[in-house]
Every structure is written in structure tokens, then in C-alpha cells.
């Protein structure tokens, strides 16, 4: 099975691709101007940020970037398209012949290009007689289109491809795609020879559903020795089926011509000057290859957060990969939600605590407690003393109740008695976790 995708994603800009209207507006038709309404006399002017973001994506996918690029008019008639031509790129995409590594497998990228979105259209009225209502807030929203070669071999792989692609885009250019509402794809699939295109499928889930349905349909046809027609189909979300797109009386011909209002853009130098942030995929590969992290663990670290991955890499240098894995997947992951927002402030102290622990200057329990304290932002000065206090308190409690140690040997639940009493005695000045940790550690030392 061969699957190729044309994925459309909105670029995160403040203003539209060719005019300065806002890209975010609540009420319909409130972010509009002569340009995005296609009024006679209006003109497009290209948004620098959109071009830079597009180039960043092209570079992220290791595309070849040409010296110059330009735009093209693609003419067709539809009520949501104000000028009745879309300004897109036909013979000069900003990137060509790139690749995307999906789970170690290379998916070739044919091209990456920029284009503007038409308006949003709503159908209103009786079924079969609906009139259109249009919101031009959407008209002119910058899109990047990423076209793959037919290197994808299953519907689930297609979904994974888009999922991983969005993760990369989120990290590298700050795309806000949520996977369902803001990604759209044209899906090409051939089980045997003939290729079928399922146009305009919205969201990850539907991409997989549409492809699955289409794969099964094609297999059934082939089994019945009936031909698969080369055609364009659409996906009906409600019923989960693909249907032939309305047969036109004639073939639409886009009649591509160069867009004379924008001129050309020398993008090679621009692309070279961009600083590209490393994406999750690349980091993951390095964790596996360089630090010997298991792939599932590496994926978990990277998908938790890219700053967790960078903390791991720092620890791997300081304390070795094995200890780094233990600490990062254990205590650090456990406190991550609180630790991440404070990381800039306390990262050095976290690393210092782990170095102390692995070099034997600090016990594991002390190390864990310290990380928790750092994550919770408790005052480190005041924590020093109570930390000593609670250990002393636990020790003296066990001295006074030696039978508890014996009971603990039989059943670890015995520890609960000590925990409860100490919690009561300290009236909540320590977290239950700290108390539990101190009691457990002290008990284990005594047996």
C-alpha cells in the first residue's frame, strides 16, 4: 500500500499572509480588508514572518531551498474564494526534496510551499438547497502545505506521521495545531496501481479513518476483480465513508500564471540565516544513539518536554547515562509539573543534589526530598533544618518503639503507624511524602 499526504497547517502569525488583518477574531467578518475581500483595486503584500516560518519548516525537513521563489495564481470558482484565484506556489516551492524521519524510517518530502486560505463557508437551509454563508476572517490566513512522496504504508502510519509532524512543528515554529481542528490533508492512496485522492480531510482521526475505509474499499474491489478508478473522492465524516467527488461536466483547469503583484523573493540567504531549533524527533534519536536510552523511554522523556530532555542530557554528562535515566524517569518526572515552570531558577541546584547523591554525599531519600522541595519552591534555608529534624524525630520514635521494626519486617504496612503518629506530632509541617520517605528509609536501615 502506498500513501502520500498533502498536509495543510496554519502558520502562527499575528497578521494574514498578504494583508495586515488579524489572524484571530471571534465575530464573523470582523478581520477583513479590501485585500482579503478581493475588492477591485486592492493588492497583496507578503508577510515576512510567514515566509520565515515557511522556510524554517523547509529547513527542518532538510529541504533544498532555491535561490528565489515566487507566487502563482490558481484560478477556480467557489463562493468562499474572494478573487476566484488562490495565491499559492506552483513551480517554485520554498522547499523541495526533503525528508522526515518517522520511527527511524525515512519519509521523503516532495515539497513545502505557502498559500492563502479561502474564507470559511457554512451551509444553511434545507438539505440539498443550502445557501452559503461566508466568513472572510479566514480568507488570507497563511498556510504551509507539506507534500510527501508515497512512502507511507498504512493508515495508522499516516496518522503517526501527521501526529509526529505536528509535534515537531509545535516545537520548532510554535504551530498551535491541536491535531483535530487545525490540520487538513489531501490523502493519496493506492493499494494496487491506480491512485485515489481523498480531498480535504479534517483532523488526525479522520485522516486515519478515511484512509482505512479507502484501503478496505480498494482491496474489496481488487478481490472482486473490479478496477479501482483513478479519481478524487471526499470523506463523509458522519458515515465514515469516502464518496466520489461530485462529477463535473468538465475538468477544472487552474490555468496557473505567475502572480505579478508580489515580485520574487531571494530565499536561500534568508533560509541560511535562520536559527532552527532542534525538534523532538532529532533529540530523541540522539538520546537513543548517544546516551543508550531505550527508545520507549527516550520517547517518553521527549514527549513530556524538550526541557526535560535537555536536563537529562546535562545529567548524563555529570552522573552518567544510567543514573541520569533513574533520576529523570523517577523523582524528576514525578515532580515535573511543578518543577518545569521553576526550572530556570533551580536547575543548577537539582543537578547539584543528584551529583551529591550519586557521589554518596547525600542519601537517595535526601536527594528525592530535596528535588521535591525545589519543585515546590519551599524555602531552602528553612528546609535544611526541618529536614534534619524529621530524620531525628523518626529515629527517636523508632528508638522508643522497637517492636515496630519487627512488625515492619513481617508486613511493611506497619510503617503506617509510625507515619500517622509523626504526621500528628508535626501537625502538617511536613508533607506526607516527606514523612513517608523518612520513615521508610529509617525502617529499611534498621532491618
Amino acid at each position: 500500500m502506498k500513501i502520500g499526504l498533502e498536509v495543510h497547517v496554519q502558520l502562527p502569525t499575528r497578521s494574514k499572509l498578504f494583508c495586515s488583518c488579524a489572524t484571530s477574531a471571534e465575530e464573523p467578518n470582523t478581520a477583513i480588508c479590501p485585500t482579503c475581500l478581493g475588492l477591485p483595486g486592492s493588492r497583496p503584500v507578503l508577510n515576512r514572518r510567514a515566509l520565515e516560518l515557511g522556510l524554517t519548516i523547509a529547513r527542518m525537513m532538510e529541504c533544498e531551498v532555491p535561490d528565489a521563489t515566487w507566487f502563482t495564481r490558481k484560478t477556480y470558482f467557489y463562493p468562499d474564494l474572494p478573487r476566484h484565484f488562490q495565491i499559492t506556489q506552483f513551480d517554485s516551492p520554498i522547499g523541495e526534496r526533503g525528508q522526515f524521519i518517522l520511527d527511524g524510517k525515512k519519509i521523503r518530502i516532495r515539497r513545502v510551499h505557502l498559500e492563502d486560505d479561502p474564507g470559511r463557508v457554512r451551509r444553511v437551509g434545507k438539505t440539498g438547497e443550502e445557501v452559503s454563508l461566508i466568513d472572510y476572517n479566514r480568507s488570507g490566513i497563511p498556510l504551509v502545505e507539506i507534500v510527501t512522496e508515497p512512502d507511507i504504508t498504512s493508515p495508522s502510519e499516516a496518522r503517526r506521521f501527521v501526529t509526529e509532524l505536528l509535534k515537531e512543528l509545535r516545537h520548532v515554529v510554535g504551530v498551535q495545531a491541536d491535531g483535530e481542528s487545525s490540520v487538513r490533508a489531501d490523502c493519496n492512496i493506492s493499494v494496487a496501481e491506480e491512485r485515489v485522492e481523498v480531498k480535504n480531510v479534517q483532523g488526525l482521526r479522520n485522516i486515519e479513518r478515511a484512509l482505512k475505509y479507502e484501503a478496505v474499499r480498494q482491496v474489496k474491489l481488487l478481490k472482486a476483480k473490479r478496477p479501482v478508478l483513478r479519481e478524487t473522492r471526499r470523506f463523509e465524516e458522519g458515515r465514515g465513508v469516502t464518496l466520489p467527488a461530485r462529477k463535473k461536466e468538465f475538468e477544472e483547469d487552474y490555468g496557473y500564471i505567475g502572480e505579478p503583484d508580489l515580485g520574487v523573493f531571494h530565499i536561500r540567504a534568508m533560509a541560511d540565516a535562520l536559527e532552527i531549533r532542534e525538534g523532538p524527533m532529532e533529540t530523541m534519536v540522539r538520546l537513543v544513539d548517544k546516551h543508550g536510552v531505550q527508545e520507549t523511554v527516550a520517547r517518553q522523556i521527549v514527549s513530556t518536554s524538550m526541557s526535560l530532555a535537555s536536563l537529562f542530557e546535562r545529567l548524563a554528562v555529570d552522573v552518567g547515562s544510567d543514573a541520569a535515566i533513574t533520576w529523570v524517569t523517577g523523582p524528576i518526572t514525578a515532580s515535573w509539573s511543578k518543577l518545569e515552570p521553576r526550572l530556570d531558577e533551580v536547575e543548577n541546584e537539582v543537578v547539584a543534589a543528584i551529583i551529591s547523591t550519586t557521589s554518596g554525599k547525600m542519601s537517595d531519600v535526601e536527594g528525592r526530598m530535596r528535588i521535591e522541595a525545589l519543585a515546590e519552591g519551599r524555602d531552602l534555608e528553612t528546609i535544611q533544618a526541618p529536614e534534619g529534624d524529621i530524620i531525628d524525630m523518626v529515629e527517636s520514635f523508632l528508638d522508643d518503639n522497637p517492636e515496630l521494626v519487627k512488625d515492619f519486617q513481617d508486613n511493611e504496612k506497619a510503617a503506617n503507624r509510625a507515619i500517622g503518629q509523626i504526621m500528628q506530632a508535626t501537625k502538617g509541617s511536613y508533607s506526607s511524602r516527606d514523612v513517608v520517605a523518612a520513615v521508610m528509609s529509617a525502617l529499611r536501615k534498621r532491618i
Partner: protein, 90 residues
């Protein structure tokens, strides 16, 4: 260019033409296309541009702004609950 081609081009351009108009345009266009075939004799040139002068690297910064009052634009449009009305899609 035969009359069927003219009919197809007219459909593509969303023009509804009577048979008489089709015939007239077919004759006119054949005249014109025959003349335009002179281009075949023009020496081939490697380069091409979309403008007669070089226009390069004109960009605007990604800033939001409205030159033309949005309310006055909305007043021009035929709307229903703020949405612009259009014909049927099916």
C-alpha cells in the same frame, strides 16, 4: 479552435453564451490565435520574469492594522447574522 473548445473555455470562465455568440467568438478567436501563432517564430529566450522590471524582496512586517474602516466594509456586504450571503453549494 472548434466550437466545442470555445464552449469548454466559456464554461471554465463561467460565461453563458448563446449559440450565436459562441459562433462569433469562435471566428474571432481563430483569427486572433492564428495571428498569435507568430510567437512560435520568436527566438527562444532562457529567462522569464513576471514583471518588466525587477521586483524583489518586498515584504511587510507581521503587524496587525486596518487602513480601511471594517464597519464601512461590512456595510457594503449583504450579510445574514454577520455572515456574507452567497449562492448554493449543491
Amino acid at each position: 479552435m472548434d466550437i466545442e473548445t470555445v464552449r469548454n473555455v466559456a464554461k471554465l470562465a463561467r460565461l453563458e453564451l448563446s449559440d450565436e455568440e459562441l459562433q462569433t467568438f469562435c471566428n474571432d478567436l481563430n483569427d486572433i490565435l492564428e495571428y498569435l501563432s507568430m510567437l512560435d517564430e520568436a527566438p527562444d529566450v532562457e529567462c522569464f520574469g513576471f514583471n518588466p522590471i525587477p521586483v524583489a524582496d518586498v515584504l511587510r512586517e507581521d503587524e496587525v492594522g486596518y487602513d480601511v474602516d471594517v464597519d464601512s466594509l461590512r456595510e457594503m456586504l449583504t450579510t445574514y447574522q454577520g455572515w456574507v450571503r452567497g449562492p448554493r453549494l449543491s
